[in-house]
Amino acid sequence: MATLARLSDVTYWYPGRGQPALRDVSLEIGPAEVILVVGSSGSGKSTLLRCLNGLVPHFHGGTLAGRVEVDGKDTRTSHTHELAHAVGLVFQDPESQSVMTTVEREIAFGLENRGVTSAAISRLVEEALILLGLSHLRHASLATLSGGELQKVALASVVATQPQLLLLDEPTSQLDPVSSEELLAAIRRLSEDTGSTIMLAEHRTERCLHLVTRVLYMNDGVLVADADPQRFADWALDGHRGLLPPVARLFARRARGHSADADDPGLPMTVKDAHRLLVAHEDPKPRHRPATSQGSPGGIALEARKLAIGYDPDEPLLEGLSFSLARGEAVALMGENGVGKSTLVRHFIGLARPLAGKVMLLGRDVGELTVAAAARDCAVMGQNPNDLFVKDTVAEEIAFTLDALGITGEQRASLTAGIVAELDLAALLQRNPRDLSGGERTRVALAATVCADPTMVVLDEPTRGMDALHKAELAASVRRWVAAGRCVVLVTHDVEFAASVVERVIVLGDRGLLADGPAADVLDGSLFFSTQINRLLRRALPGVLREDEIEWAGGDS
């Protein structure tokens, strides 16, 4: 197999950092491979990709030991724009990678940089538009596109240059599930149609493990595992189950009486694979494991009464919303992108005013409260933790919130000590929040949001771009808050995460509530807002959502 790229004993330090971001990484990449790179935040996934297109070290500086060769060129001596002929990179944030203002022009930018003739650019732009299904948006201004469309434009811009190696750095982390699925489908089509090598860094393995031919697992800058998906799944069973899709985790617990033969199909990665396994090997059967209840909700924390929200009274985003949220319950608020979920939660503390109806927070009309007064009882954390950070240290961030809410004296000291202990922040108190890793930043943002012990906590897309470990930590915090009698609202697209922590789901649709009820009822049988386990077992075991709700007849292996 010809080698497209080779890393030999690569160690890399970012400028001013004592610890290397990559340690002794050696790797060979061949043509027509589809490679998934997994690992926690800060494990070196992005750095590995940036090594392959020369941004490391040419753009980021720092110290590079070892050798990186791409398409026969040493990246140390070849500049990034020379490597751009062979390597294309799509970044995480769709907002931060576009340069021009219209779709066509954006796609043409990379081709112009390569000196392609005007006639050839016209043809390649047209083909990229068709390939990514963007023809209808060719003249659209990038400012009017959704995140998913913008990310597809970024992909089209790179695809148009026909790179041999296409690198995708968590391209779906900022996208809702629909947009993510569209993008991943486009990537799959691309690999099948063009035969390019695709290298994809991604946290949510259930979305893409079945698409790839090879998996790399990075931990603390070290390439720990490098295997095909089945061998990777077998390896992950020993201490890294969180990296596997729920159906793989479920079947990993099944007694594999049939697995000794050479035809063992291995662990399933998709619902389809799992169905096949269930049909081929009927025993043992899955059955519902009695779950422990989280307890019953308490008094009403927030009530929406005939609420209409939006920006135009003639065309409200949502109207006729009536629901109540209780203390001691966790609720997921779901719905397609742009339906008004984030706008709705802004009404909980008066950040937006309703077009009609009212919101009652602990029995008081939010319309008659200041935002600060409402924020004392209902903490709302937005999608980007960085939006909160205005101080130089973590301790100052917590103090800033308590100051703003007018909390002083012993209560302040006790609340500070409580939140620092709860979120394990003692070692970070004197650090600048912006210097912390992604998971640490989220913990600090949570601390700055909930430090005043509010009755309600609202988290808007808290798991966006979050790895499995940090999700588990967040889930544990949510469960503690609910047990302590708080009402927790999660605005989320992450169905698997929601199913793991909430008992109630509200689905918003065009102009109002589509569904409101227990998670097991709302998510069961849903076409889209459903978990992998539910899609697999909804007929045999209706209402089952999570892998830990299932046990195998005869006991787990």
Binding site: N53, L55, F59, H60, H79, T80, H81, G88, F91, D93, S96, S98, V99, M100, T101, T102, R105, F109, L111, N113, G115, V116, S118, I121, S122, V125, L137, A140, S141, L142, A143, T144, L145, T161, E336, G338, L351, T370, A372, R376, A379, V380, G382, N386, D387, L388, V390, A404, L405, R434, A448, T449, A452, G509, D510, R511, G512, A515, D516, G517
Partner: protein
């Protein structure tokens, strides 16, 4: 059990996106034709003095803006133009002493200020010229999208054009960042909107750090993305194939050049001179001037060609 209600879940198309997808009026022309036409309009606004001619020119500029579907977007420009024009229209009669026909005597403290018809007319005409120039500028900015501006400018200075394009691209993002950061702070109880203006400004100062940090991070990401896409190579090409030259583009460009020639010819021939002081010249007499008729007709033709009910693809 959950309660379900049928609802059409359908993504609403943004009105802005719709207008971007289907260019109208002058926006359908090639960038070079737009530049030529807007250049001719600007030249006319700078050369013409006669209040009637300037009024007709301003009406033409506004009509072209509206036909291109940019009337609402032009309002901020027009508001600025009205402020500046209004200021000139008010101040000129107060300071002008050359008019012969006194309308009334204004008593400003110890000063007697004679307000003359000629002073008022000159103020109004100057205001109209300023408004026409700003409207032409608005036309250029709103009808010619930044990428087309970049395309034209890249032939002179690509880097300058790129900076303009990036600014156009990132300013709305920057504005959204600012709104998001403000809301995040309000949600933690920070009072940003209470008190006098000074207190409100002081409360927002810490937010600048967050905004600056995010903007710098974004700028670094954009720079990395540009480099990863081959920016910086020496043999850069320029894509100019997106809209072919059509008859309408040729007509617009030719008409603009003809108008410019007529305007300059009339200027040198003295056909556009107009005296406000001490007495107003007859504004109607110049409307029959051949130079004016030629220039204005040449400016009107491309506007008529752009009308929406024309079925021509051009």
């Amino acid at each position: 059990m959950p309660t379900f209600r049928t609802a059409a879940v359908e993504r609403r198309a943004s009105p802005k996106r719709r207008s971007e997808a289907s260019r109208r009026g002058l926006a359908r022309r090639r960038p070079a034709a737009i530049v030529a036409y807007v250049g001719a309009l600007t030249l006319a606004a700078l050369i013409l003095i006669n209040p009637l001619q300037v009024t007709l020119l301003l009406a033409l500029c506004l009509a072209v803006l509206i036909v291109a579907g940019r009337g609402r977007a032009a309002w901020p420009y027009l508001k600025t133009a009205l402020y500046i024009g209004g200021f000139l229209a008010i101040v000129n009669p107060l300071i002008s002493r050359s008019g012969a026909t006194v309308l009334w005597q204004l008593q400003l403290g110890p000063f007697h200020v004679p307000i003359t018809i000629q002073g008022v007319a000159y103020g109004v005409a100057t205001a109209l010229r300023i408004i026409a120039v700003i409207t032409a500028f608005a036309l250029f900015n709103l009808v010619l999208d930044p990428d087309d501006q970049l395309g034209l400018m890249s032939r002179l200075s690509f880097r300058t054009g790129l900076v303009i394009s990036l600014a156009c691209r990132l300013l709305p993002v920057f504005s959204r960042d600012a709104a998001r950061i403000s809301n995040a702070q309000r949600a933690r109880g920070v009072e940003l909107d209470a008190g006098r203006r000074r207190a409100r400004v002081a409360a927002r100062v810490p937010l600048l750090a967050a905004l600056l940090a995010q903007s710098l991070e974004r700028a670094v990401d954009v720079a990395a993305s540009m480099e990863a896409r081959g920016f910086g190579a020496r043999d850069r090409s320029h894509w100019s194939h997106e809209r072919r030259w059509r008859l309408a583009d040729l007509v617009t460009t030719a008409a603009a050049l003809l108008a410019a020639a007529a305007l300059l010819g009339g200027l040198f021939a003295g056909a556009f001179s107009y005296n406000f002081y001490p007495l107003l010249d007859d504004p109607w007499s110049q409307l029959a001037s051949l130079w004016w008729v030629l220039a204005f007709a040449a400016l009107v033709v491309p506007a008529l060609w752009s009308l929406p009910w024309r079925r021509s693809p051009g």
